[in-house]
Symmetry: C2
Subunit: 708 residues, 2 copies
């Protein structure tokens, strides 16, 4: 068993009391800085210096070995030179220590020999039964539990709260903490995992999901490890309504096989991870500030129901900026109900419009108490799950004098109703101690610091709330059928057997039979080369459209000849004959296996233009028809399904059912499947048909399409 | 002549010395607040109180009328009740005062009677020859010239610099100034124009373009007035390389006529204003912080050449965040040259990659002087017009001790080379006095406060530099031909006469002639109803494709019959017969007249899917073929023109020439033209042909298409 997944062991790891500082020295300003962090973060427990000379350091008693320390020791904090790390671990193990943070750098992050040394450290730690963070890790501060072993900095006073920060990078961990502090946001936990030869961001996430001190988790990740555990932690966080917000960088590589199918270019480098976020309600952000503001806000507000937001401000300018930012970031701006609007008209001046966003007008400057009437009316609106009142939060004593009464009136208005009270300020500035004290005295608990990040946080809140309101599709994966259809013909036959509507076709193996088969159709025909070894038939000259019976013989021969030129070694089964369908809406449906996150289904509309316009949606399996319907309606091209310009509307139920059946059919092909793609899936009103299909299997699992 | 456009008069308006405070009273805290602003902003000049009792106020001598003041008075600052504003203006005029700020509210912003009162004020001021800002205006502070008459607030110490802020909203003006102050950004000018019955944002912009104290101009605008002056100011600012950055809200209305053409939905509500920004290098932003940070940065850095940016940081995390944000915001990230990379390898550790963004690795922690070697190497890169070094700017004395040496080493590195030195910090926090003093002592003049807004500012910088490097297309508008083609047939004939390649067609007026005309073609035909009164022929059943000669007679009759049902009163000229072209790439090209900004051309690719996927570009006229080529290549669908999936590449020169000819043809139809649309413009390799065309004229100018 992985020693990092034992919850009890992790609890002991993250709540050490007595700690050995291995490498502590009064000669090192670095060591002094490290020692100072314990007091800063309010660590409760005894500290001991361990170094070659057994010298005291930073006022702590000194020892040459952990084994000499007279007290029981919970953890070793190791910052000896890289070459001495293994012996430090061995010494710690001899003292019965099972937990360590290895701060020492010069391992994998330095390349070359460092990579090898890091592997040796990990191997030896496992042998010794030591759990560790690092190397090159700045450790953690479990602020909520008064435990720390970290070189992460904090400004003072430390603000204790419910936000947890987990970063791979130490430099970024410092900035995360600094920004949270400047914004007056309190932390429960902070960690920087470094090279992650031991405990990873994922392990800590998994642990903190169950920590009651933690209300929201913010992650900074360059490369995410242990995907299965990540998914299970995310699912538990979703169930517990504890938000996870992630700043994930770097691009995941597509496997070569997936690149062969068109789906690959639609999914893009990050599409499957985005699908994972979508499934589990993880909010993905793009900057440090957005990470902290969003995580803090979601943690304090919780999922709102209904997932709609009413906005109001004293400033018409703020309302206008809000409206435009809401449009940019995809916040749905629904109107207040007619009832709300009529009640508003009773308390606002006649020239005030009762729109969302609601400009309460300058009247509140003269009569701040108008706020106390307006807010309860908005809070009562059944159409809204949250009301945000925007004003200027005072940051100086003078501003408190000028603005305080208005803010207090807003806060008083919020107190009369049940939804979380949110006040948004207009610009991002540090929350001064004056502001924090004022907020406390006025009962202003939840704030957004500005409109730019504030609206982004509201967009994340709305998506998160919608995700949590959706049932999570949790179907058992279908049994692996142990079969392996290859090429268009087998793939379509397999899909048909699994309930996917598929165009009828006949395999013709000799040219002489082609005319008869085409003549039996009511319509002209499509002739396509049938070969398990040719994935891209058009490029091989292997597709001919609109063929009449009398042309069929010659077409058969020309297709086979072209294929032989294009792919001389390909096995050729013959030519597939299908009826020619008239032009209609075409979708591409592809199921691809992501190395880390498993099977994901991508759907796009628009035939060849799908790739040009990158209009597609990707979701992780399992999927049901309702989820597929949501995917389809989320596409820009959804208009084409809803009866665009006089075209018949598509039967969305039939279409969603067909796509869900494709997903399940792909899953039933077992773990060697890389790609199952239907392109096109044709939709013409109620007629849904797969016109072509393709499967690709993982290299080394017994051959695939084009790779042969 | 508009008295607000006289530069000399505006100079006297914006540099008053002696000011009468009309409405000043010791009983009013509001009046006291207003009076305090003069000292805050360092106003140089004498102040006098004017009120009904002639009482002194705020320590100023009191008078009952401006005419009694013994000194010459440059301006009146009016905040009497709304009903007394006109008599205050009359009194001021009698005292020879020609300049006023009217702070009083209760005019158009309060609706009803206020609208009328405001018109009266404007009328009376014009009669009296008084220039004024307001009503409901918080006035201005001309900080660079030590003149102020404003109720806008400022934190102290006032930071004097080169940024000008012009806002319609007073509340937003306060926030703009506060944010600039918190960021340590100095101002030359700030104003809030309010209801703009007199001086507008546009007037002030026009004036400040020529003020040497002003290096950059930031605008907050809800509704922009005087478009012609705005354009001429923008053009002068472009020539002077003085950046204009605008936060413009609210949506401009499309005229009803434009909505008739498909182009309307492509351009969207804001597309023409965006085209104006594109033409003149105006940076359009979406939040207060982005406005201030971008304007300050562009003003300090100036347009860079080449317009590419090299980024470097001590933090791999910062490099990764930068790369992802650059992708999101469209910053081109070009590699350093091979020469630069080889020089970097000599000074960086072997495991450092020499990419852009450049992670200099933790080695600079031990050896900050590495920065002094790295920065000049990057500064020498001929591929880059700007190098941005990212680190943490210290905000406290402790941080100066820890981080100061590294930042000084970066600054020293920048001193050896000619490009503007830029240091970017990682998170947005207030710039403390410690930081500002440190920056001064270290010679760090230009900073970006964080990555989120920083990368957006870099994206604006890059676009602005590219715009300034492009020649501005300045062709005289073609002479108004005084003609008025209506309907498809006349429009296409007109376009053909103006050099646009157009599909050949024949007008058939009797069904009996149709077969002969079709038979004369080499191909099947397209038959379309010819009527000046039917703009949307497909919806009228008036278009039939792929008609053989023997079908032509019947098709003619069925088209005419359908048209008569659809539009019983429409004039029907007959049926147009053209050769049927095979499927190829289709563009839509539309020229629309925006009420404020004039003619703009929109081009989109993708036939009916253009509207679904909203893939279009809009530029103001005049346009030349080179500018059209840029537009085409900026589309996502440009791939379809460049030889997508084995299709022949389009002849871009021929295509751009055709589109430029359409633009010129539209302009030659004179000011009554609302829309000229070619849809589709078909492109098949080197063959470019307008297949259909439509014109719409302004209502009241003599009738148009569908409106009849």
């Amino acid at each position: 068993m992985d020693i990092t997944s034992d919850t009890q062991a992790l609890t002991s790891f993250f709540r050490p009391r007595n700690i050995a500082l291995v490498g502590a020295s009064d000669k090192s300003t670095w060591s002094a800085m490290i020692h100072s962090r314990f007091a800063r973060f309010g660590h409760e427990g005894q500290l001991f210096a361990v170094n070659r000379g057994g010298n005291p350091a930073h006022g702590l008693p000194g020892f040459t070995s952990c084994t000499e320390i007279p007290e029981p020791i919970d953890a070793a904090y190791i910052y000896v030179p890289a070459a001495a790390v293994i012996s430090a671990l061995e010494d710690a193990a001899r003292a019965g220590i099972r937990n360590a943070v290895i701060l020492t750098s010069g391992f994998a992050e330095a390349g070359g020999e460092g990579v090898h040394m890091q592997a040796e450290v990990a191997k030896r730690a496992a042998e010794l039964g030591i759990r560790f963070m690092g190397p090159n890790s700045m450790g953690f501060a479990n602020i909520g539990h008064h435990s720390a072993m970290t070189s992460i900095n904090t400004r003072l006073p430390v603000r204790i709260g419910r936000l947890a920060l987990i970063s791979q990078s130490g430099a970024i961990a410092n900035e995360l903490g600094k920004f949270a502090h400047a914004q007056g946001i309190g932390l429960a936990f902070t960690a920087a995992t470094g090279n992650e030869a031991g405990i990873t961001v994922t392990d800590i996430l998994d642990y903190l999901v169950d920590d009651d001190q933690v209300g929201a988790i913010a992650l900074y990740v360059e490369s995410l490890k242990k995907p299965d555990r990540f998914v299970s932690a995310a699912a538990r966080a979703r169930a517990a309504k504890k938000p996870i917000v992630i700043l994930k960088l770097g691009r995941s590589e597509m496997s070569g096989a997936i690149g062969l199918a068109h789906t690959g270019s639609l999914v893009g480098d990050d599409g499957v991870f985005n699908a994972l976020c979508d499934r589990h309600g993880i909010s993905r952000v793009s900057s440090i500030e957005e990470l902290i503001i969003t995580a803090d806000f979601l943690g304090k507000v919780g999922p709102i129901d209904p997932p709609r937001i009413g906005f109001t401000s004293i400033s018409g300018g703020a309302c206008a900026i809000y409206a435009d930012l809401a449009d940019i970031h995809g916040v749905e701006v629904a109107p207040y109900t007619a009832g709300t609007q009529s009640k508003l008209r009773e308390v606002l001046p006649p020239f005030a419009a009762t729109l969302n966003p609601l400009d309460v007008t300058g009247v509140v400057l003269q009569e701040p108490q108008t706020w106390s009437k307006v807010i309860p009316i908005l809070q009562d609106d059944p159409n809204m799950g949250l009301i945000v009142a925007s004003t200027v939060l005072p940051n100086t004593e003078t501003e408190v004098q000028i603005l305080g009464e208005g803010v207090r009136a807003i806060a008083a208005g919020f107190k009369t109703a049940g939804k979380p009270p949110v006040i948004a300020s207009l610009i991002l500035q540090d929350a001064s101690e004056v502001q924090l004290a004022f907020r406390k005295s006025a009962g202003v608990d939840v704030t957004l610091p500005d409109l730019d990040f504030g609206v982004r946080a509201l967009a994340h809140l709305q998506r998160w709330a919608r995700c949590l309101a959706r049932p999570l599709v949790e179907a058992a994966a279908p049994a692996n059928l142990g079969i392996r259809p290859v090429g268009e013909r087998e793939t379509l036959a397999y899909l048909a057997a699994r309930g996917v509507p598929v165009i009828p076709s006949s395999l013709v193996t000799v040219a002489a039979a082609a005319q008869r088969v085409v003549a039996a159709l009511d319509t002209p025909a499509v002739l396509k080369i049938a070969s398990p070894d040719i994935a891209h038939k058009t490029e091989a000259g292997g597709v001919r459209l609109n063929i009449a019976a009398h042309e069929a013989h010659e077409t058969f021969e020309s297709i086979v000849a072209a294929a032989r030129v294009h792919a001389p070694t390909a096995r050729i089964d013959g030519v597939l004959v299908s009826p020619m369908r008239k032009a209609a809406t075409e979708l591409i449906v592809g199921v691809v296996r992501d190395r880390e996150w498993g099977l994901a289904l991508t759907v796009g509309i628009g035939g060849i233009l799908t790739e040009v316009f990158k209009d597609s949606a990707t979701r992780l399996l399992p999927l049901d028809p309702a989820a597929v319907r949501d995917m389809l309606l989320a596409l820009r091209g959804a208009k084409l399904l809803l009866g665009y310009r006089g075209q018949p509307a598509a039967d969305l139920d039939a279409l969603a059912a067909a796509i869900a059946a494709i997903a399940e059919a792909a899953a039933a092909l077992g773990p060697s499947l890389s790609v199952l793609e239907v392109n096109p899936l044709r939709v013409d009103g109620s007629q849904v048909e797969a016109l072509d299909g393709l499967t690709i299997y993982q290299a080394g699992s017994g051959g695939s399409g084009e790779e042969a």
